[in-house]
Amino acid sequence: MLTTDAVLSVGLNHYLFLSALLFSVGMMTVLLRRNLIVMLMGIELMLNAVNLSFVAFSHYTQNLNGQIMVFFVMTVAAAEAGVGLALAVNVFKKFKEINIQQFEKLKG
Amino acid sequence: MGSDVFEISVNFIKLVAIFLLMVQLVPLLVWVERRGSAYIQNRFGPNRVGPLGLTQLLADAVKFLFKEEFIPGEGRRLIFLLAPVVALIPGALAFGSIPLSAPIQVEAFQWLGQTWGPYNFPFQSFQFDIGIVFVLGVSSLAAYALLMAGYGSENKYSLFGALRASAQMISYELALGLSLVGILLIYGTFDFAEMVTLQEGPLTLMLFGTEYTLSFLPNWGIFYQPLGFVILFAALFAETNRLPFDLPEAEAELVAGYHTEYGGLKMNMFYIGEYGHMLVASGLISTFYLGGYNLPFVTVDQIREFFVQSQGFTLTNASLAASFLLHLVFMAKVFLLLWIFIWVRWTLPRFRYDQLMDLGWKTMLPWALGNTIVTAVFILWMRSV
């Protein structure tokens, strides 16, 4: 499978594999880390991986709709990051903690 | 980079040379600032080292090289050391995409027994067809240098300065982008080289469907969009952290703001970054609104024709001479704008932080939006009736 030609001439598969890798690293960040902001960053990383696969498809099928989708995903992700950060700031102001293990007990 | 070895090597040398041009202009700018500010404040500036104090900067650089290097906050060493590097990168990248002169057209010539074909070398490090979007994207990375410097210093005051500075920068990036939309609607392209080509010759207006030529004014952007020019100028002051938007480096408030803990060569790199940003800002203003490298009322082809006919140069030499002349014109415009930057710095007092944010969001943003709407309506009306 790893012939020289498959490695050296980069095709759609390579970009999609990179996108899958980044998506899984983002998912691991959300699952494994306990800091609220770092989990938000994991979500942003997942959205970026999806953007990469959209742009790769748009390039290899010569269709501009992929890039339009990237526009929308980028905007929605930025909006979501803004609201998420405002929420995190409020949580920090009230509890002085953004470690999600402290919020397991449905108190306060 | 090019289609044969000659073109690739010329392009590579051009890349390096334009970067070095930016780095070498910085000591000259600092000298102008120190002497000019002294002149404004009715005192002498540095005038002992070298003729007119010109080698003062060289002496300072040598002094910086021998200073002791200390790093506060051993826990954040990498961030502290990387911040000056990140300060240099946006300015250098953005400066490379601004056209400094007319493209040089080389005719086919014989050398080493081979014919090297006709070439066209644009007088910039690289050329995209998305010129201005590239500059906007790359200069928004300058906020990281501030944040990294402030955080890596492990000093509360530096952190405050850095946070205020980056909030200021991202607010004014918005005003910057919006003030450019008006002029981009008129030119219809993102590419700098095309924009400068569109500003050749005398002023040509389309009023209600017919074309008028006012031959006593050059075809510069400032006559089409005066409000856009004012807003862009003010927003670029804020982007480069120059007075009156000087809070990040407010001396007497925050010691030296985000670069308090830096000494020696790292401090020098911050200065190169700041003056590099000023160069990029001046280059942008002169490309959009002051006609770029164009001499008023004449087009580039007319200059090349003049050289060919009256001086009898070959086409290659005429192109080289025209580019050299136009480069001097561009540099004159850039220096004029830089002098205005320096003049304003030593004349106006500094804005308070909330006044600064009010100005960015409540004044510049609505005016820039209004400018865009009026421009769009005008274009639709004047070019279609």
């Binding site: 970009y15 999609l16 990179l18 501009l64 905007t75 950060l85 | 995209f128």
Partner: protein, 199 residues
Amino acid sequence: MGPGEHHCHSGVYSLDAIGIGVDMQEAILFYILGSLAVVCSLGVLLSKNPVSSALYLALTMVGLSFVFVGLDAFFIGMVQLAVYAGAVMVLIVMVVMLFDLKKEEDSFSPGFFGNGLKVILGGFMVGAIASVIAYSTEMILSAPKITQAEPVDMSVKALARLLFTDYVVAFEILGVLLLLVAIGAVALSRIPGGTHADD
């Protein structure tokens, strides 16, 4: 690879003369930038200091932006640089610096087996996606609609035209969404009475 002539490189930036063809250039660009992106994303996951995580994520986004440029999506690449790396990440870095958290000793969820299970399942997911990609790309790329011969205009003008004609409703809704988000963020973080309440 894909159908024959999908490369729309203009050749101006090719280094053909010194033996590096267009394919090789694209491969070098992809591998360098791709490994930068993967290494930095692992830095996001593994670094203990949240500020370092945020800076690594910013570098990942810069790397991805240049991957987009390598895929000939110049405008989207620069918008990614300006919006994501230049505004969203600056916001996140600012918020993390404001919190001023110390280096966290227990930044990962506890439980070795729990974490191990999550990592293994993540690995399964990557494997599943990779095999789906490997089996289906041929099918997608040789579909009759795709292998057309006429060159499609993929410039910024075409993108803008598409955005303002076919997708104009979604575009306007996006504007309303951004307005809602701005109002929401201000409402969440305001001090009753305004900033100058106790002046």
